[in-house]
Amino acid sequence: MSNTENSSTSNVIDIENLSLTFQTGDGAVEALSDINLGIEQGDFVSLIGPSGCGKTTLLRVIADLEHATSGAVKVNNMTPEQARRERAYGYVFQAAALYPWRTIAKNVALPLEIMGLSAAERRERIERNLALVDLAGFEKKYPWQLSGGMQQRASIARALAVEPDLLLMDEPFGALDEIVRDHLNEQLLALWAKTNKTVVFVTHSIPEAVYLSSHIVVMSPRPGRIHDIIKSDLPPDRNLDIRETPEFMKLANRVRDGLRAGHSYDVNQ
Protein backbone atom coordinates (compact mmCIF):
# COMPACT_ATOMS: atom_id res chain seq x y z
CA MET A 1 0.00 0.00 0.00
CA SER A 2 1.29 3.42 -0.82
CA ASN A 3 0.19 6.99 -0.64
CA THR A 4 -1.71 7.63 -3.79
CA GLU A 5 -0.78 11.25 -4.42
CA ASN A 6 2.64 10.22 -5.70
CA SER A 7 2.03 6.53 -6.23
CA SER A 8 4.74 4.54 -7.87
CA THR A 9 4.06 2.77 -11.15
CA SER A 10 4.77 -0.60 -9.54
CA ASN A 11 1.37 -0.59 -7.86
CA VAL A 12 -0.98 -3.39 -8.84
CA ILE A 13 -3.95 -1.10 -8.42
CA ASP A 14 -3.95 2.69 -8.58
CA ILE A 15 -7.11 4.65 -8.02
CA GLU A 16 -7.13 8.43 -8.26
CA ASN A 17 -10.07 10.75 -7.57
CA LEU A 18 -12.52 8.04 -8.52
CA SER A 19 -16.20 8.94 -8.40
CA LEU A 20 -19.17 6.92 -9.58
CA THR A 21 -22.75 8.12 -9.86
CA PHE A 22 -25.61 5.77 -10.66
CA GLN A 23 -28.53 7.19 -12.60
CA THR A 24 -31.65 5.71 -11.07
CA GLY A 25 -35.35 6.37 -11.45
CA ASP A 26 -35.22 8.63 -8.39
CA GLY A 27 -32.35 10.66 -9.79
CA ALA A 28 -28.60 10.40 -9.38
CA VAL A 29 -27.10 8.37 -6.53
CA GLU A 30 -23.48 9.05 -5.69
CA ALA A 31 -22.13 5.56 -4.96
CA LEU A 32 -18.44 6.46 -4.74
CA SER A 33 -16.90 9.86 -4.10
CA ASP A 34 -13.27 10.90 -4.49
CA ILE A 35 -11.62 7.54 -3.84
CA ASN A 36 -7.81 7.46 -3.73
CA LEU A 37 -6.15 4.12 -3.16
CA GLY A 38 -2.92 2.39 -4.11
CA ILE A 39 -2.41 -1.34 -3.67
CA GLU A 40 1.01 -2.97 -3.99
CA GLN A 41 1.94 -6.45 -5.09
CA GLY A 42 1.39 -8.92 -2.25
CA ASP A 43 -0.95 -6.72 -0.22
CA PHE A 44 -4.05 -8.21 1.36
CA VAL A 45 -6.46 -5.30 1.40
CA SER A 46 -9.87 -5.48 3.03
CA LEU A 47 -12.61 -3.03 2.13
CA ILE A 48 -14.87 -2.80 5.16
CA GLY A 49 -17.92 -0.66 5.75
CA PRO A 50 -21.66 -0.76 6.34
CA SER A 51 -24.12 -1.70 3.59
CA GLY A 52 -24.36 0.95 0.92
CA CYS A 53 -20.84 2.33 1.42
CA GLY A 54 -19.88 1.28 -2.11
CA LYS A 55 -17.28 -1.36 -1.20
CA THR A 56 -18.68 -3.89 -3.64
CA THR A 57 -19.08 -1.18 -6.27
CA LEU A 58 -15.41 -0.24 -5.83
CA LEU A 59 -14.39 -3.87 -6.31
CA ARG A 60 -16.59 -4.09 -9.41
CA VAL A 61 -14.96 -0.95 -10.84
CA ILE A 62 -11.56 -2.60 -10.44
CA ALA A 63 -12.97 -5.68 -12.20
CA ASP A 64 -14.47 -3.59 -15.04
CA LEU A 65 -17.96 -4.73 -14.07
CA GLU A 66 -18.90 -1.09 -13.32
CA HIS A 67 -17.49 2.05 -14.87
CA ALA A 68 -16.20 5.12 -13.06
CA THR A 69 -17.97 8.40 -13.76
CA SER A 70 -14.75 10.32 -13.24
CA GLY A 71 -11.21 9.73 -12.03
CA ALA A 72 -8.57 7.23 -13.05
CA VAL A 73 -8.28 3.53 -12.27
CA LYS A 74 -5.22 1.51 -13.22
CA VAL A 75 -4.87 -2.24 -12.82
CA ASN A 76 -1.35 -3.49 -13.62
CA ASN A 77 -0.84 -0.07 -15.28
CA MET A 78 -3.72 -0.80 -17.64
CA THR A 79 -7.29 0.37 -17.73
CA PRO A 80 -9.66 -2.05 -15.96
CA GLU A 81 -11.00 -3.09 -19.35
CA GLN A 82 -7.56 -3.97 -20.70
CA ALA A 83 -6.77 -5.80 -17.46
CA ARG A 84 -10.00 -7.78 -17.76
CA ARG A 85 -9.20 -8.68 -21.37
CA GLU A 86 -5.78 -9.90 -20.21
CA ARG A 87 -7.51 -11.90 -17.48
CA ALA A 88 -5.37 -10.16 -14.88
CA TYR A 89 -7.60 -11.05 -11.95
CA GLY A 90 -9.77 -13.79 -10.52
CA TYR A 91 -13.12 -12.74 -9.12
CA VAL A 92 -14.96 -14.56 -6.32
CA PHE A 93 -18.60 -13.62 -5.88
CA GLN A 94 -20.65 -13.52 -2.71
CA ALA A 95 -22.64 -16.50 -3.97
CA ALA A 96 -20.48 -19.32 -5.28
CA ALA A 97 -22.04 -18.80 -8.73
CA LEU A 98 -21.19 -22.33 -9.83
CA TYR A 99 -23.00 -23.47 -12.96
CA PRO A 100 -25.45 -26.11 -11.68
CA TRP A 101 -25.23 -28.23 -14.85
CA ARG A 102 -21.46 -28.62 -14.54
CA THR A 103 -19.60 -30.89 -12.15
CA ILE A 104 -17.09 -29.32 -9.76
CA ALA A 105 -14.21 -30.20 -12.10
CA LYS A 106 -16.12 -28.83 -15.07
CA ASN A 107 -16.86 -25.62 -13.18
CA VAL A 108 -13.17 -25.11 -12.49
CA ALA A 109 -12.54 -25.93 -16.15
CA LEU A 110 -14.93 -23.20 -17.35
CA PRO A 111 -12.44 -20.27 -17.47
CA LEU A 112 -9.76 -22.63 -18.77
CA GLU A 113 -11.99 -23.70 -21.67
CA ILE A 114 -12.65 -20.05 -22.46
CA MET A 115 -8.93 -19.31 -22.37
CA GLY A 116 -8.44 -22.16 -24.85
CA LEU A 117 -6.09 -24.26 -22.75
CA SER A 118 -5.33 -27.81 -23.81
CA ALA A 119 -7.16 -30.70 -22.15
CA ALA A 120 -3.98 -31.84 -20.42
CA GLU A 121 -3.24 -28.37 -19.06
CA ARG A 122 -6.86 -28.07 -17.89
CA ARG A 123 -6.71 -31.41 -16.09
CA GLU A 124 -3.48 -30.45 -14.36
CA ARG A 125 -4.83 -27.07 -13.17
CA ILE A 126 -8.14 -28.56 -12.01
CA GLU A 127 -6.35 -31.20 -9.97
CA ARG A 128 -3.86 -28.76 -8.45
CA ASN A 129 -6.38 -26.05 -7.52
CA LEU A 130 -9.01 -28.40 -6.16
CA ALA A 131 -6.30 -29.95 -3.96
CA LEU A 132 -5.33 -26.44 -2.85
CA VAL A 133 -8.83 -25.76 -1.48
CA ASP A 134 -9.09 -29.27 -0.04
CA LEU A 135 -11.63 -30.54 -2.56
CA ALA A 136 -9.67 -33.38 -4.13
CA GLY A 137 -12.02 -36.31 -4.76
CA PHE A 138 -15.05 -34.11 -5.39
CA GLU A 139 -14.36 -33.59 -9.10
CA LYS A 140 -17.37 -35.54 -10.31
CA LYS A 141 -19.87 -34.10 -7.82
CA TYR A 142 -22.45 -31.53 -8.82
CA PRO A 143 -22.67 -28.24 -6.90
CA TRP A 144 -25.96 -29.20 -5.21
CA GLN A 145 -24.23 -32.22 -3.69
CA LEU A 146 -21.80 -29.95 -1.80
CA SER A 147 -22.28 -27.82 1.31
CA GLY A 148 -22.21 -24.03 1.05
CA GLY A 149 -18.64 -23.87 2.33
CA MET A 150 -17.45 -26.47 -0.15
CA GLN A 151 -19.22 -24.66 -3.00
CA GLN A 152 -17.45 -21.43 -2.07
CA ARG A 153 -14.11 -23.26 -1.93
CA ALA A 154 -14.82 -24.64 -5.40
CA SER A 155 -15.48 -21.11 -6.63
CA ILE A 156 -12.14 -20.00 -5.13
CA ALA A 157 -10.43 -22.90 -6.91
CA ARG A 158 -12.09 -21.71 -10.12
CA ALA A 159 -10.74 -18.19 -9.62
CA LEU A 160 -7.26 -19.52 -8.79
CA ALA A 161 -7.21 -21.81 -11.83
CA VAL A 162 -6.88 -18.74 -14.05
CA GLU A 163 -3.59 -18.20 -12.17
CA PRO A 164 -4.06 -14.49 -11.68
CA ASP A 165 -1.70 -12.42 -9.53
CA LEU A 166 -4.71 -10.47 -8.30
CA LEU A 167 -7.69 -11.95 -6.48
CA LEU A 168 -10.86 -9.87 -6.07
CA MET A 169 -13.21 -11.31 -3.45
CA ASP A 170 -16.67 -9.90 -2.78
CA GLU A 171 -17.80 -11.08 0.68
CA PRO A 172 -16.98 -14.64 -0.30
CA PHE A 173 -17.74 -16.05 3.15
CA GLY A 174 -20.67 -13.75 3.98
CA ALA A 175 -23.31 -16.44 3.65
CA LEU A 176 -21.44 -19.08 5.66
CA ASP A 177 -21.66 -19.92 9.35
CA GLU A 178 -19.03 -18.76 11.83
CA ILE A 179 -17.13 -22.05 12.13
CA VAL A 180 -16.86 -22.62 8.39
CA ARG A 181 -15.91 -18.99 7.91
CA ASP A 182 -13.07 -19.24 10.47
CA HIS A 183 -11.77 -22.34 8.76
CA LEU A 184 -11.86 -20.76 5.30
CA ASN A 185 -10.22 -17.60 6.63
CA GLU A 186 -7.32 -19.70 7.91
CA GLN A 187 -7.03 -21.49 4.57
CA LEU A 188 -7.20 -18.24 2.62
CA LEU A 189 -4.47 -16.69 4.74
CA ALA A 190 -2.24 -19.74 4.27
CA LEU A 191 -2.89 -19.56 0.53
CA TRP A 192 -2.01 -15.87 0.43
CA ALA A 193 1.22 -16.45 2.39
CA LYS A 194 2.17 -19.28 0.05
CA THR A 195 1.44 -17.57 -3.27
CA ASN A 196 2.23 -13.89 -2.65
CA LYS A 197 -0.89 -12.94 -4.55
CA THR A 198 -2.50 -9.52 -4.17
CA VAL A 199 -5.97 -9.81 -2.63
CA VAL A 200 -8.72 -7.22 -2.45
CA PHE A 201 -11.36 -8.52 -0.07
CA VAL A 202 -14.77 -6.99 0.63
CA THR A 203 -16.31 -7.78 4.01
CA HIS A 204 -18.42 -6.30 6.74
CA SER A 205 -16.97 -8.43 9.49
CA ILE A 206 -14.41 -6.61 11.65
CA PRO A 207 -12.66 -9.77 12.97
CA GLU A 208 -12.42 -11.16 9.44
CA ALA A 209 -10.92 -7.95 8.09
CA VAL A 210 -8.39 -7.61 10.92
CA TYR A 211 -7.44 -11.27 10.87
CA LEU A 212 -6.83 -11.47 7.13
CA SER A 213 -5.51 -8.13 6.05
CA SER A 214 -2.23 -6.34 5.67
CA HIS A 215 -4.25 -3.17 5.11
CA ILE A 216 -7.80 -2.35 6.13
CA VAL A 217 -9.69 0.29 4.18
CA VAL A 218 -12.59 1.63 6.28
CA MET A 219 -15.36 3.09 4.14
CA SER A 220 -18.40 5.18 5.01
CA PRO A 221 -21.69 5.57 3.20
CA ARG A 222 -23.71 8.29 1.44
CA PRO A 223 -21.65 8.98 -0.58
CA GLY A 224 -19.27 6.01 -0.44
CA ARG A 225 -15.80 7.25 0.46
CA ILE A 226 -12.66 6.10 2.23
CA HIS A 227 -12.68 7.10 5.89
CA ASP A 228 -9.43 5.54 7.07
CA ILE A 229 -6.68 3.24 5.83
CA ILE A 230 -5.16 1.10 8.59
CA LYS A 231 -1.91 -0.76 8.14
CA SER A 232 -1.81 -3.94 10.16
CA ASP A 233 1.33 -4.75 12.16
CA LEU A 234 0.24 -8.32 12.91
CA PRO A 235 2.80 -10.93 11.84
CA PRO A 236 2.07 -12.54 8.48
CA ASP A 237 2.10 -16.10 9.86
CA ARG A 238 -0.82 -15.59 12.24
CA ASN A 239 -3.38 -18.15 13.35
CA LEU A 240 -6.89 -17.76 14.71
CA ASP A 241 -5.61 -17.46 18.31
CA ILE A 242 -4.23 -14.04 17.46
CA ARG A 243 -7.76 -12.73 17.84
CA GLU A 244 -7.33 -12.92 21.63
CA THR A 245 -4.19 -10.71 21.67
CA PRO A 246 -4.16 -7.01 22.65
CA GLU A 247 -2.64 -6.02 19.29
CA PHE A 248 -5.59 -7.59 17.49
CA MET A 249 -8.07 -5.89 19.84
CA LYS A 250 -6.40 -2.54 19.29
CA LEU A 251 -6.69 -2.85 15.52
CA ALA A 252 -10.28 -4.07 15.76
CA ASN A 253 -11.15 -1.10 17.97
CA ARG A 254 -9.62 1.33 15.53
CA VAL A 255 -11.66 -0.20 12.71
CA ARG A 256 -14.80 -0.08 14.86
CA ASP A 257 -14.17 3.58 15.75
CA GLY A 258 -13.68 4.37 12.10
CA LEU A 259 -16.90 2.64 11.13
CA ARG A 260 -18.79 4.48 13.86
CA ALA A 261 -17.37 7.88 12.92
CA GLY A 262 -18.09 7.17 9.27
CA HIS A 263 -21.76 6.80 10.07
CA SER A 264 -22.46 10.48 9.61
CA TYR A 265 -26.04 10.18 10.79
CA ASP A 266 -24.84 8.85 14.17
CA VAL A 267 -22.67 11.88 14.74
CA ASN A 268 -24.26 14.79 12.98
CA GLN A 269 -27.93 14.13 12.87
Partner: protein, 296 residues
Protein backbone atom coordinates in the same frame (compact mmCIF):
# COMPACT_ATOMS: atom_id res chain seq x y z
CA UNK B 1 -43.56 -42.31 1.17
CA UNK B 2 -44.40 -44.33 -1.96
CA UNK B 3 -47.95 -45.21 -0.86
CA UNK B 4 -48.47 -41.63 0.23
CA UNK B 5 -47.70 -40.22 -3.23
CA UNK B 6 -49.78 -43.03 -4.72
CA UNK B 7 -52.78 -41.97 -2.68
CA UNK B 8 -52.15 -38.32 -3.43
CA UNK B 9 -51.87 -38.66 -7.19
CA UNK B 10 -53.62 -41.91 -8.08
CA UNK B 11 -56.90 -41.43 -6.23
CA UNK B 12 -57.73 -37.96 -7.60
CA UNK B 13 -56.89 -39.08 -11.14
CA UNK B 14 -59.24 -42.06 -10.88
CA UNK B 15 -62.00 -39.98 -9.28
CA UNK B 16 -61.84 -37.36 -12.04
CA UNK B 17 -61.76 -40.04 -14.74
CA UNK B 18 -64.84 -41.75 -13.26
CA UNK B 19 -66.66 -38.43 -13.04
CA UNK B 20 -65.95 -37.70 -16.70
CA UNK B 21 -67.13 -41.16 -17.82
CA UNK B 22 -70.29 -40.83 -15.71
CA UNK B 23 -71.06 -37.39 -17.15
CA UNK B 24 -70.45 -38.78 -20.62
CA UNK B 25 -72.95 -41.61 -20.04
CA UNK B 26 -75.50 -39.15 -18.66
CA UNK B 27 -75.04 -36.98 -21.76
CA UNK B 28 -75.41 -40.04 -23.99
CA UNK B 29 -78.76 -40.92 -22.47
CA UNK B 30 -79.99 -37.34 -22.41
CA UNK B 31 -78.98 -36.51 -26.00
CA UNK B 32 -80.08 -39.80 -27.57
CA UNK B 33 -83.50 -40.09 -25.92
CA UNK B 34 -85.41 -37.88 -28.44
CA UNK B 35 -84.36 -39.96 -31.42
CA UNK B 36 -84.97 -43.24 -29.57
CA UNK B 37 -88.45 -42.03 -28.56
CA UNK B 38 -89.08 -41.27 -32.24
CA UNK B 39 -88.06 -44.78 -33.18
CA UNK B 40 -90.39 -46.32 -30.63
CA UNK B 41 -93.25 -44.05 -31.72
CA UNK B 42 -92.84 -44.99 -35.35
CA UNK B 43 -92.92 -48.64 -34.39
CA UNK B 44 -95.97 -47.96 -32.26
CA UNK B 45 -94.07 -49.33 -29.33
CA UNK B 46 -95.35 -47.57 -26.23
CA UNK B 47 -94.62 -50.43 -23.88
CA UNK B 48 -90.95 -49.91 -23.08
CA UNK B 49 -89.35 -49.80 -19.68
CA UNK B 50 -86.87 -47.19 -18.51
CA UNK B 51 -84.07 -49.79 -18.58
CA UNK B 52 -84.90 -50.69 -22.18
CA UNK B 53 -84.91 -47.05 -23.14
CA UNK B 54 -81.61 -46.28 -21.46
CA UNK B 55 -79.83 -49.30 -22.90
CA UNK B 56 -81.24 -48.47 -26.34
CA UNK B 57 -79.75 -45.00 -26.21
CA UNK B 58 -76.36 -46.59 -25.78
CA UNK B 59 -76.52 -48.95 -28.71
CA UNK B 60 -77.67 -46.77 -31.59
CA UNK B 61 -75.81 -47.07 -34.84
CA UNK B 62 -75.49 -43.35 -35.48
CA UNK B 63 -76.12 -41.73 -32.12
CA UNK B 64 -76.00 -38.00 -31.54
CA UNK B 65 -73.65 -38.86 -28.71
CA UNK B 66 -71.98 -42.25 -28.73
CA UNK B 67 -71.50 -43.93 -25.37
CA UNK B 68 -67.94 -44.35 -24.04
CA UNK B 69 -68.01 -48.11 -24.50
CA UNK B 70 -69.15 -47.73 -28.12
CA UNK B 71 -66.20 -45.45 -28.78
CA UNK B 72 -63.89 -47.81 -26.93
CA UNK B 73 -65.16 -50.74 -29.02
CA UNK B 74 -64.67 -48.79 -32.22
CA UNK B 75 -61.14 -47.77 -31.20
CA UNK B 76 -60.35 -51.39 -30.32
CA UNK B 77 -61.83 -52.66 -33.57
CA UNK B 78 -59.93 -50.18 -35.72
CA UNK B 79 -56.60 -50.48 -33.93
CA UNK B 80 -56.17 -54.05 -32.70
CA UNK B 81 -58.39 -55.97 -35.09
CA UNK B 82 -57.51 -54.18 -38.30
CA UNK B 83 -54.24 -54.60 -40.13
CA UNK B 84 -52.08 -51.48 -39.98
CA UNK B 85 -52.02 -51.34 -43.76
CA UNK B 86 -55.82 -51.22 -43.94
CA UNK B 87 -57.44 -47.90 -44.88
CA UNK B 88 -59.78 -48.43 -41.94
CA UNK B 89 -57.02 -48.88 -39.39
CA UNK B 90 -56.91 -46.01 -36.92
CA UNK B 91 -53.23 -46.73 -36.35
CA UNK B 92 -52.59 -46.13 -40.05
CA UNK B 93 -54.43 -42.80 -39.90
CA UNK B 94 -52.75 -41.84 -36.63
CA UNK B 95 -49.39 -42.58 -38.19
CA UNK B 96 -50.13 -40.27 -41.11
CA UNK B 97 -51.14 -37.41 -38.83
CA UNK B 98 -48.39 -38.11 -36.33
CA UNK B 99 -45.65 -38.00 -38.94
CA UNK B 100 -46.66 -34.57 -40.22
CA UNK B 101 -47.25 -33.30 -36.65
CA UNK B 102 -43.81 -34.44 -35.54
CA UNK B 103 -42.09 -33.04 -38.62
CA UNK B 104 -43.91 -29.73 -38.11
CA UNK B 105 -43.05 -29.76 -34.40
CA UNK B 106 -39.39 -30.34 -35.19
CA UNK B 107 -39.29 -27.59 -37.82
CA UNK B 108 -41.29 -25.26 -35.56
CA UNK B 109 -38.94 -25.83 -32.64
CA UNK B 110 -35.88 -25.15 -34.80
CA UNK B 111 -37.49 -22.05 -36.32
CA UNK B 112 -38.53 -20.86 -32.85
CA UNK B 113 -35.03 -21.27 -31.43
CA UNK B 114 -33.51 -19.52 -34.44
CA UNK B 115 -35.90 -16.56 -34.19
CA UNK B 116 -35.36 -16.31 -30.43
CA UNK B 117 -31.58 -16.19 -30.89
CA UNK B 118 -31.95 -13.45 -33.52
CA UNK B 119 -34.29 -11.48 -31.29
CA UNK B 120 -32.09 -11.79 -28.20
CA UNK B 121 -28.91 -10.76 -30.02
CA UNK B 122 -30.37 -7.98 -32.14
CA UNK B 123 -32.36 -5.12 -30.67
CA UNK B 124 -33.62 -3.96 -34.06
CA UNK B 125 -34.96 -7.43 -34.84
CA UNK B 126 -36.70 -7.52 -31.48
CA UNK B 127 -38.61 -4.39 -32.44
CA UNK B 128 -39.26 -5.36 -36.06
CA UNK B 129 -39.81 -9.12 -35.84
CA UNK B 130 -41.84 -9.60 -32.68
CA UNK B 131 -45.01 -7.76 -33.88
CA UNK B 132 -45.13 -9.98 -36.98
CA UNK B 133 -44.64 -13.11 -34.92
CA UNK B 134 -47.54 -12.13 -32.67
CA UNK B 135 -49.70 -11.12 -35.64
CA UNK B 136 -49.10 -14.50 -37.26
CA UNK B 137 -50.82 -16.16 -34.32
CA UNK B 138 -53.88 -13.90 -34.32
CA UNK B 139 -55.00 -15.19 -37.74
CA UNK B 140 -57.30 -18.22 -37.43
CA UNK B 141 -55.35 -21.20 -38.69
CA UNK B 142 -58.51 -22.64 -40.28
CA UNK B 143 -58.57 -19.61 -42.61
CA UNK B 144 -54.88 -19.78 -43.51
CA UNK B 145 -54.50 -23.53 -43.87
CA UNK B 146 -56.27 -23.95 -47.25
CA UNK B 147 -54.32 -21.03 -48.72
CA UNK B 148 -51.00 -22.40 -47.55
CA UNK B 149 -51.81 -25.78 -49.05
CA UNK B 150 -52.99 -24.29 -52.34
CA UNK B 151 -49.94 -22.03 -52.60
CA UNK B 152 -47.51 -24.82 -51.75
CA UNK B 153 -49.29 -27.13 -54.19
CA UNK B 154 -48.85 -24.51 -56.92
CA UNK B 155 -45.09 -24.60 -56.43
CA UNK B 156 -45.09 -28.37 -56.47
CA UNK B 157 -44.88 -29.15 -52.77
CA UNK B 158 -47.35 -31.87 -51.85
CA UNK B 159 -47.96 -34.62 -49.37
CA UNK B 160 -46.41 -34.48 -45.91
CA UNK B 161 -44.69 -31.11 -46.16
CA UNK B 162 -47.69 -28.73 -46.50
CA UNK B 163 -49.32 -30.31 -43.44
CA UNK B 164 -46.08 -30.17 -41.50
CA UNK B 165 -45.79 -26.53 -42.51
CA UNK B 166 -49.09 -25.73 -40.81
CA UNK B 167 -47.99 -27.57 -37.67
CA UNK B 168 -44.78 -25.56 -37.78
CA UNK B 169 -46.75 -22.33 -38.22
CA UNK B 170 -48.54 -23.01 -34.95
CA UNK B 171 -45.76 -24.58 -32.92
CA UNK B 172 -42.90 -22.15 -33.47
CA UNK B 173 -44.68 -19.44 -31.48
CA UNK B 174 -44.49 -20.81 -27.93
CA UNK B 175 -40.88 -21.78 -28.60
CA UNK B 176 -39.96 -18.23 -29.62
CA UNK B 177 -41.62 -16.74 -26.55
CA UNK B 178 -40.14 -19.33 -24.18
CA UNK B 179 -36.63 -19.16 -25.63
CA UNK B 180 -36.49 -15.35 -25.64
CA UNK B 181 -37.25 -15.55 -21.93
CA UNK B 182 -34.90 -18.49 -21.38
CA UNK B 183 -31.93 -17.02 -23.23
CA UNK B 184 -32.11 -13.86 -21.11
CA UNK B 185 -32.69 -15.53 -17.75
CA UNK B 186 -29.12 -16.26 -16.63
CA UNK B 187 -28.17 -15.09 -13.12
CA UNK B 188 -26.36 -11.77 -13.10
CA UNK B 189 -23.45 -13.36 -11.23
CA UNK B 190 -23.22 -16.11 -13.87
CA UNK B 191 -23.16 -13.43 -16.58
CA UNK B 192 -20.61 -11.30 -14.69
CA UNK B 193 -18.42 -14.37 -14.39
CA UNK B 194 -18.32 -14.76 -18.18
CA UNK B 195 -17.48 -11.06 -18.40
CA UNK B 196 -14.52 -11.42 -16.02
CA UNK B 197 -13.22 -14.27 -18.20
CA UNK B 198 -13.45 -12.02 -21.25
CA UNK B 199 -15.60 -14.69 -22.92
CA UNK B 200 -16.73 -14.11 -26.49
CA UNK B 201 -20.42 -13.81 -27.33
CA UNK B 202 -20.36 -17.29 -28.83
CA UNK B 203 -18.72 -18.77 -25.71
CA UNK B 204 -21.28 -17.06 -23.47
CA UNK B 205 -24.06 -18.42 -25.69
CA UNK B 206 -22.92 -22.04 -25.70
CA UNK B 207 -21.62 -22.25 -22.14
CA UNK B 208 -24.17 -20.13 -20.30
CA UNK B 209 -27.19 -18.84 -22.19
CA UNK B 210 -28.18 -22.02 -23.98
CA UNK B 211 -27.88 -24.32 -20.93
CA UNK B 212 -29.83 -21.78 -18.83
CA UNK B 213 -32.62 -21.67 -21.41
CA UNK B 214 -33.20 -25.43 -21.67
CA UNK B 215 -35.88 -25.69 -18.95
CA UNK B 216 -37.78 -22.87 -20.69
CA UNK B 217 -37.33 -24.65 -24.03
CA UNK B 218 -38.90 -27.86 -22.75
CA UNK B 219 -41.82 -26.05 -21.15
CA UNK B 220 -42.63 -24.33 -24.45
CA UNK B 221 -42.01 -27.53 -26.43
CA UNK B 222 -44.77 -29.19 -24.37
CA UNK B 223 -47.21 -26.57 -25.64
CA UNK B 224 -45.74 -26.70 -29.14
CA UNK B 225 -46.10 -30.46 -29.57
CA UNK B 226 -49.78 -30.37 -28.58
CA UNK B 227 -50.64 -27.61 -31.05
CA UNK B 228 -48.53 -29.26 -33.74
CA UNK B 229 -50.99 -32.15 -33.46
CA UNK B 230 -53.92 -29.73 -33.80
CA UNK B 231 -52.20 -28.15 -36.81
CA UNK B 232 -51.77 -31.49 -38.56
CA UNK B 233 -55.44 -32.40 -38.07
CA UNK B 234 -56.65 -28.98 -39.19
CA UNK B 235 -54.42 -29.22 -42.28
CA UNK B 236 -56.17 -32.44 -43.29
CA UNK B 237 -59.65 -30.92 -43.17
CA UNK B 238 -59.71 -28.41 -46.06
CA UNK B 239 -57.69 -30.54 -48.45
CA UNK B 240 -60.03 -33.47 -48.57
CA UNK B 241 -57.17 -35.66 -47.47
CA UNK B 242 -57.84 -39.37 -47.73
CA UNK B 243 -55.59 -40.37 -44.88
CA UNK B 244 -55.03 -39.05 -41.39
CA UNK B 245 -57.15 -38.43 -38.31
CA UNK B 246 -58.47 -35.22 -39.87
CA UNK B 247 -59.60 -37.19 -42.90
CA UNK B 248 -61.35 -39.67 -40.57
CA UNK B 249 -63.15 -36.79 -38.86
CA UNK B 250 -64.21 -35.37 -42.19
CA UNK B 251 -65.37 -38.68 -43.61
CA UNK B 252 -67.20 -39.44 -40.39
CA UNK B 253 -69.10 -36.17 -40.55
CA UNK B 254 -70.01 -36.69 -44.26
CA UNK B 255 -71.63 -40.00 -43.51
CA UNK B 256 -72.95 -39.22 -40.03
CA UNK B 257 -70.61 -41.79 -38.50
CA UNK B 258 -70.49 -40.19 -35.09
CA UNK B 259 -68.80 -43.16 -33.50
CA UNK B 260 -66.02 -42.90 -36.07
CA UNK B 261 -65.67 -39.16 -35.39
CA UNK B 262 -65.46 -39.71 -31.70
CA UNK B 263 -62.98 -42.53 -31.92
CA UNK B 264 -60.76 -40.36 -34.12
CA UNK B 265 -61.08 -37.55 -31.55
CA UNK B 266 -60.21 -39.87 -28.68
CA UNK B 267 -57.24 -41.20 -30.62
CA UNK B 268 -56.05 -37.66 -31.39
CA UNK B 269 -56.24 -36.57 -27.77
CA UNK B 270 -54.53 -39.74 -26.56
CA UNK B 271 -51.71 -39.15 -29.04
CA UNK B 272 -51.38 -35.50 -28.04
CA UNK B 273 -51.32 -36.45 -24.37
CA UNK B 274 -48.67 -39.08 -25.08
CA UNK B 275 -46.53 -36.56 -26.97
CA UNK B 276 -46.82 -33.97 -24.20
CA UNK B 277 -45.86 -36.63 -21.66
CA UNK B 278 -42.84 -37.69 -23.72
CA UNK B 279 -41.59 -34.12 -24.07
CA UNK B 280 -42.28 -33.55 -20.38
CA UNK B 281 -40.32 -36.65 -19.44
CA UNK B 282 -37.34 -35.66 -21.58
CA UNK B 283 -37.55 -32.18 -20.07
CA UNK B 284 -37.55 -33.63 -16.57
CA UNK B 285 -34.49 -35.75 -17.31
CA UNK B 286 -32.69 -32.76 -18.80
CA UNK B 287 -33.62 -30.58 -15.81
CA UNK B 288 -32.28 -33.19 -13.45
CA UNK B 289 -29.11 -33.42 -15.48
CA UNK B 290 -28.83 -29.63 -15.38
CA UNK B 291 -29.05 -29.66 -11.60
CA UNK B 292 -32.23 -27.60 -11.71
CA UNK B 293 -34.39 -30.15 -9.94
CA UNK B 294 -32.27 -29.60 -6.82
CA UNK B 295 -32.56 -25.87 -6.44
CA UNK B 296 -34.25 -26.12 -3.05
Amino acid sequence: MKTHTLRESFVPVVVVLCAIVLLWYAATVFLNIPWQRDVYERANNTDYSVVEMVSATMSQERPVMPAPHQVAQEVYKTTVEKKITSKRSLIFHSGVTLSSALLGFLLGTLLGILLAVLIVYNRALNKSLMPWIITSQTIPILAVAPMIIVVLNAVGIQGLLPKAFISMYLSFFPVVVGMVKGLTSADSSHTDLMHTYNASAAQTFWKLRLPTSLPYLFTSMKVAVAIAMVGAIVAELPTGAVAGLGARLLAGSYYGQTIQIWSALVMASLLAALLVMCVGLIGKLVNRRMGLAHHA
